[in-house]
């Protein structure tokens, strides 16, 4: 290789060899700004509208109302309170229970839509999409009409038996919240599952059944392994959303069902106890951001 005429610039010792990006003498150069500059404006807006408020919540959670400097007293107070511990347990078991319910139900329903096709199956899939665009509290509202104390089920019971009171009172208990959450969040599991099933080569199923495998064996050995990533991704998304669910719980009007988001709301708005609200908020953020990061890792691995 002969040295190019254009690189015979006198070089001072210690200067690095001309890389491709180093200026050559003469030729026109690009004057575009680096790409990261373009990322600054949206990041600045986000910082102002979201990150700065979050930082203030964190700051407020270590600053008790009664003056004084930084202290962990609000945390000690909140962690010691019965209400908080109850809320934490209720939130976690409701979220885990709903997630398991959604996974089972969503898997079964998606399986039928994808592999036992029926006329109108497409419409059902569309309906699931529409369902996702409605707010969660509508489900609780509907359940109030069906199972509420003066609702349809209890009314039917009193009409038939002549009793003064119907048997359905679970709506104001955690079970009512569980039912509403399973109903509302199941489509969030079905959607990634249907997407995964549509990628599954149906030839595999045909080969498996020609080799003598029954439906149960096919589901266990062919479909389930393929669906696992989508199940994991959908499941962890639902888990996070259940942890953060507020509308469903608010609408049941149950006094004895308190979840972490409800606690944030009642501490801040009803009791005006901002440091306590901020402590609960920080705990809630820690749990759900942790789980959400897990979801991102899982879904990236699943390629979803």
């Amino acid at each position: 290789m002969t040295p190019s005429a254009t690189t015979t610039v006198p070089r001072t010792p210690g200067e690095r060899a001309p890389a491709a990006t180093a200026p050559g003498p003469g030729p026109a150069r690009s004057r575009t700004v680096p790409a990261w500059v373009w990322a600054l404006p949206p990041v600045a807006v986000l910082a102002l509208a979201f990150l700065y408020p979050l930082a203030l919540v964190l700051q407020q959670s270590v600053t008790p109302d009664d003056g004084g400097g930084v202290s962990l007293d609000p945390y000690a107070d909140v962690f010691a309170s019965e209400v908080f511990r109850d809320a934490l347990t209720t939130t976690v078991w409701l979220a885990v229970g709903s997630t398991v319910g959604c996974l089972v139900l969503g898997f079964v329903l998606a399986l039928v839509i994808a592999f036992v096709p029926f006329p109108g199956g497409k419409a059902v899939a569309r309906f699931v999409d529409v369902f996702l665009s409605f707010p969660s509290f509508l489900i609780t509202l509907a359940l109030l009409f069906i199972y509420g104390s003066v609702g349809m089920a209890n009314g039917l019971w009193t009409d038939v038996t002549g009793a003064a009171d119907g048997p359905f009172h679970f709506l104001t208990t955690p079970w009512g919240v569980l039912l509403a959450e399973i109903t509302y969040f199941t489509p969030f599991v079905m959607r990634p599952l249907l997407a995964a099933f549509s990628q599954l080569d149906t030839g595999q199923l045909e080969v498996a059944s020609s080799l003598g495998a029954g439906p149960v064996r096919i589901i266990r050995q062919v479909i389930l392994p393929e669906a696992l990533p989508a199940l994991a991704a959908g499941g962890s998304l639902v888990l996070v959303m259940c942890l953060n669910e507020f509308g469903i719980v608010l609408f049941t009007g149950a006094k004895d069902v308190t979840t972490l988001p409800m606690l944030v709301y009642s501490k801040a708005i009803l009791e005006s106890d901002y440091p306590a609200a901020c402590v609960v908020a920080v705990v809630n953020i820690a749990i759900s951001v942790g789980l959400y990061s897990l979801y991102r890792v899982v879904s990236r691995r699943a390629g979803a």
Binding site: M1, S4, T7, A20, G24, P27, R29, S30
Partner: protein, 362 residues
Amino acid sequence: MNAPAPSGIRFDGVTVAYGGTVVLDRLDLTVEPGEVMALLGPSGSGKTTALRAVAGFVRPAAGRVFLGGRDVTALPPHRRGIGMVVQQYALFPHLKVKDNVAFGLKAHRTPKAEIPGRVTEALELVGMAAYADRHPRELSGGQQQRVAIARALAIRPGVLLLDEPLSALDARLRSGMLAELARLHRELPDVSILYVTHDQVEALTLADRIAVMDRSRLQDCGTPEELYRRPRTEFTASFVGNANLLPVTVSGEGAVRLGDRSLRVPVEAAAPGATATLCVRPHLVGLGDGPNALTGSVTEVQWRGSTHRVHADVDGHRVMADLRELREPPAIGDPVTLHFATEDAVLLPAGAGAGDSAGVGP
């Protein structure tokens, strides 16, 4: 932009690396103004990388790229003024054919009044003027291809880059487009064309010169005839056309030994006793006795319509012969005698791991 666009390309020690892997190694190559240069090589040979370095989509780690004598190494793609056609055409699906062709003109700030005329001119050049108001999705693959070429030519570039432009077409369309491209080049004699392909027929048909690439390096460069008749490396011999490659030892003036046979071939500047590779094209091998006779037994016979390809085992070396269709082709296991003329043989320096069966027939 109506000044004559710079023509001619020069690679000066261009090296491209991705994360430590060198994909193009110190390429030195000049494409003269008005010349068609084919970059021929298998996939992964670095030929597309070389083209993308001219277009500006990859930044060389070292070396310089010149367009019309001007160093463009640091210029972004949109300031290089080249025309480019890629394998999948990349026509903008949201624009009509005429707007696709006008895209480059608008980007170059051509006066508004000139644009319709230039668009029509470019579309007429490829015979697509009647389709100006269609959307790309309404066109066949071959038509999309023509529009892509019209779009690249509309800005009157001095350099046209074609990246496997025919590989998405079926065989019949491909030969038609090949003739079309040859005609286009005759009509645009000043445009330098860099044509990347893995297909030797395209390269042999179209190119003024062929640069053969393999394993990130330029292996050989010359006119199609030079490369075909006088290849300089085993790789060129086997990649441009088919070749019988036989390991021989130089035994004296104009003579080599294959095993214990003595063959008369043109020997240039090789000391007696040196090992070398003998290259003979299969269609230059004849059946029956003659000068440079090779006796062996038939291992395979393929009927190819107008020819028979006969594979023979000669002292453990495979020799292929493409023979005009035989009335009574030999059977496998038959003894056979083949021969070739002294002037049809080329002696190559022995390459590393030289084998006797490098000829990969299409």
